[in-house]
């Protein structure tokens, strides 16, 4: 494919001064710092003046970003530290103070020496997330995006981050395209619904379901057992789907998973009389699902720290914040996500994880090195499904309901979009991408639409766009733009970026032309 390669994407980009972007970058590099400063400050001011008229906050926001950009390029001591302190002080005096606090934290983190950065960043992110319910209402308004997300949106975000991290194992680590991930989400949600509701009202079986009235009919199992159970059921179904289909080449696998993603919701929709048995209650869904809790025994033993029942909990006031049940769901979700991320990271560097990467990069070579292809791929599928199932079960419990309408193909693409946007193969990137997209889906698009419709008006004309209605197209644009211009995602894994830019040999070995075309890139790397 030498002819095509010379004219298209990947190889053109790697040239030094080929293309407008690289020429610009090279010319920028030849300027001296004073010139660069003058040009960039001029550009920022020029751009922010019209924005200032559009929306004051937007103009200020751009100026602040420009200021931070230049502060980061000052000589460290004493100028940078003084400028940072000055900027924080400006916001501390003139408000919003929450922005001052956020900037202070960011600046302090930026002084952490490189060796300690990953744990410092992760720890800070975890702390900020845990305390989010306490300061969510006090945060400044972001231009365009509006207020910071609600805590209930936070739960939604955490659940979808969990699913994205799970899908990342399949798509990012093992390089298998799964277009039916929503099936595992559905599996988890229905597992929770079956084992913790009055769906099967003809029986009465309680197992550790503390905080639930013991006379209620139906199956009631404690949620803390249901979460892993949902994961295991999803994983087993993942294996069941995977075993016959993982032999297929990538794009066929995508189609098969898509097919499963379409079949399962239809079974859920039609499942109100499967041979006369009401399995899923059809389009009405299963609701309510038991709320989680630890029961009075544990609750009293821990001095009320662990609530007896999530829905009927929390009259405590901590740090001036009345704790609500969404906060408790939020913290539980953080714990689940932390476990997911921990497992995902440990898997990545394990023997299995390295086998996944080997298969992704070159299946034939991996097989030649003694990696059992089928077993390794199936494990990727099962582990990805496990986290999807757990996340689905938790979300079902949080919503206290599950409907077949929740499991459309769009959700699969939505989660895939998170993984692609954030950076396939990099857990941190996937978390950022998923958080952003989940926020967009829940609040961001509506807020952005409101901002557009109220701030943009030309001679009495207002756009009046219902932005959330077009979410599908927006995700489509994100998918295409990211894959075309930054296939490694926002926060790439270095290894995956190299694969995208240099091309990989993911064709079967007997295709001689491909072998030859990729030989140079491969040889250079080795």
């Amino acid at each position: 494919m030498t002819d095509a390669a010379a004219t298209t994407g990947a190889s053109a980009r790697s040239g030094d001064e080929i293309g407008f972007r690289n020429q610009l970058r090279a010319r920028w590099g030849r300027l001296d710092p004073a010139q660069r400063a003058a040009i960039s400050i001029g550009v920022i001011i020029l751009v922010s003046i019209p924005l200032f008229f559009l929306d004051h906050a937007l103009g200020f926001g751009l100026l602040t970003i420009g200021a931070i950009y230049w502060i980061r390029r000052l000589p460290p001591l004493p100028w940078r530290i003084a400028a940072e302190a000055g900027l924080v002080l400006v916001f501390l005096v003139a408000g919003p103070r929450s922005l001052a606090a956020l900037l202070a934290i960011a600046f302090v983190l930026s002084w952490v020496p490189g060796k300690y950065r990953p744990p410092a960043y992760a720890g800070a992110a975890l702390l900020l997330a845990v305390f989010y319910p306490f300061y969510a209402g006090k945060m400044f308004t972001v231009p365009i995006f509006g207020v910071w997300p609600d805590v209930s949106t936070g739960v939604y975000m955490l659940v979808f981050i969990m699913m994205a991290v799970g899908l990342n194992i399949v798509v990012g680590y093992a390089g298998l395209l799964d277009l039916g991930y929503v099936a595992f989400y559905a599996m988890g949600a229905y597992t929770a619904a079956w084992f913790a509701s009055e769906q099967f009202a003809h029986t009465r079986w309680h197992f550790g379901a503390v905080g639930i009235d013991p006379t209620l009919p139906g199956v009631h199992v404690t949620i803390w057992l249901l979460l892993p159970l949902a994961g295991i059921i999803a994983a087993v179904s993942g294996i069941a789907i995977g075993l016959p289909t993982l032999r297929l080449r990538g794009d066929y696998l995508a189609i098969v998973t898509l097919g499963f993603g379409e079949i399962l919701p239809q079974i859920a929709r039609n499942g109100d009389s499967l041979f006369g048995f009401n399995l899923t209650n059809g389009p009405n869904g299963i609701t309510p699902i038991d709320s989680p809790g630890f029961g009075h025994g544990i609750s009293n033993a821990t001095g009320g720290f662990l609530p007896a029942n999530y829905l009927a909990c929390c009259n405590a006031k901590v740090l001036g914040h009345q704790i609500q049940y969404t906060d408790v769901y939020f913290w539980t979700a953080i714990l689940l996500l932390a476990i997911t991320v921990f497992c995902s990271l440990r898997l990545q560097y394990s023997r299995l994880g390295r086998a996944w990467i080997a298969i992704r990069e070159d299946e034939t070579a991996a097989a030649a090195m003694g990696i059992p292809l089928m077993r390794t791929k199936t494990w990727a599928y099962a582990s990805g499904a496990f986290f999807g199932g757990v996340a689905g079960a938790y979300y079902g419990v949080y919503k206290s309901s599950t409907f077949p309408g929740d499991f459309f193909f769009n959700i699969s693409v939505f989660i895939l979009c998170m993984v692609v946007l954030g950076g396939m193969g990099n857990v941190w990137g996937v978390i950022v991408g998923a958080a952003f997209l989940a926020y967009l889906n829940q609040e961001g698009l509506a807020n952005t639409g409101a901002w557009l419709n109220s701030n943009i008006h030309v001679a009495g004309w207002r756009p009046n766009i219902d932005v959330p209605l077009y979410s599908g197209g927006i995700y489509g644009v994100i998918l295409i733009v990211v894959v075309l211009f930054r296939p490694e995602g926002l926060i790439p894994s270095r290894r995956r970026a190299a694969e995208f830019h240099e091309g990989v040999h993911d064709q079967p070995l007997y295709d001689v032309t491909h072998e030859q075309a990729h030989f140079d890139a491969q040889g250079a790397e080795v």
């Binding site: 095509a4 298209t8 297929l248 489509g476």
Partner: protein, 350 residues
Amino acid sequence: MAADASAPPLARRIPRPGLISAIGLAFVVGLVLWLIINFTKSPSTFVQVSVYGLTVGCLYALIALGYTLVYGILELINFANGDVFMLGGMFTITYSTTFFNLHEGQGPVIVPILIVTLFMVMISCGLINALIERVAYRPLRNAPRLAPLITAIGASFIIEDIGLIFWGPNYVPAPSVFPTSSVLSVGGVTVTWNMLIVFLFTIPVLLMLLWLVQRTRQGKAMRATAQDMDASAMMGIDVNKTISFTFLLAGALAGAAGFLYAYNVTTVRWDQGFQLGLIAFTAAVLGGIGNLPGAVLGGLLIGLIQNWNEGLPWHAPGSDWTESIVFSILILILVFRPEGLLGERTPEGG
């Protein structure tokens, strides 16, 4: 379509154990028994349902041809094909009603209007499909396989939203201009004009397509490109142009399907394309992807199965289960016979 004997097979098949093939055989035998019982219980219903099925199958076949053409040349599933079909339906309605003021009860003047509309729709859809290839697939020709699949999904969602923006979230009605009077009626089975038009359109299209791929210079270029892109470039074939032409052709077929759908069903909605596209893709896989008569055979079979499932009186699962059945067929075919019924990409190229 075109082909190459040395290229890798779609999937490396493990030898099938006897048990599985026995189960498969039992399944097929059960299906045939079910059909026979239905036929004996009420022959006229059976035949009528089958005729409907063949009509729907022709539409699926037209869309499936688009999938198969593109897959044959690039080994890429063009997810946007189904949505281009939806746009075809929308274009049909807009062109004929706003440009030519088409409405019901106009007499024979509708014939030239419909023919002009059809050509305009085919050209529009073809150009859109070629544009999708240019923007979303061509830059990724050397990227890992995952990349163009992801952009294909993105393109599909964007096209859906274009339909949503321009034609709104509700069903768009089309004037019911195809005559519904019966052409022939034998023992309770009627074939109406609107059904016959679909057949009269699909059969010549398939023959022309076969002729184009097997007998013309352009078809030769397509087959050569499908076999080996580098070698055909060395032989002086403009590979990019050939691929663009293939997408144009696939889009035009999808547009024609949209035209027939719009006037047969008389409503189109922005989100119908994807689902029907997936069913048509199943048809292409069933017949053997890359194989033109295979796509038609698969389309007809899927159309028949869908209508048998929805229309037969004795123990038919009903329309609630159509998608499940179609996708189960897809999965079973992919697992047990990935090369499809007629075999994938035969060297004769058709």
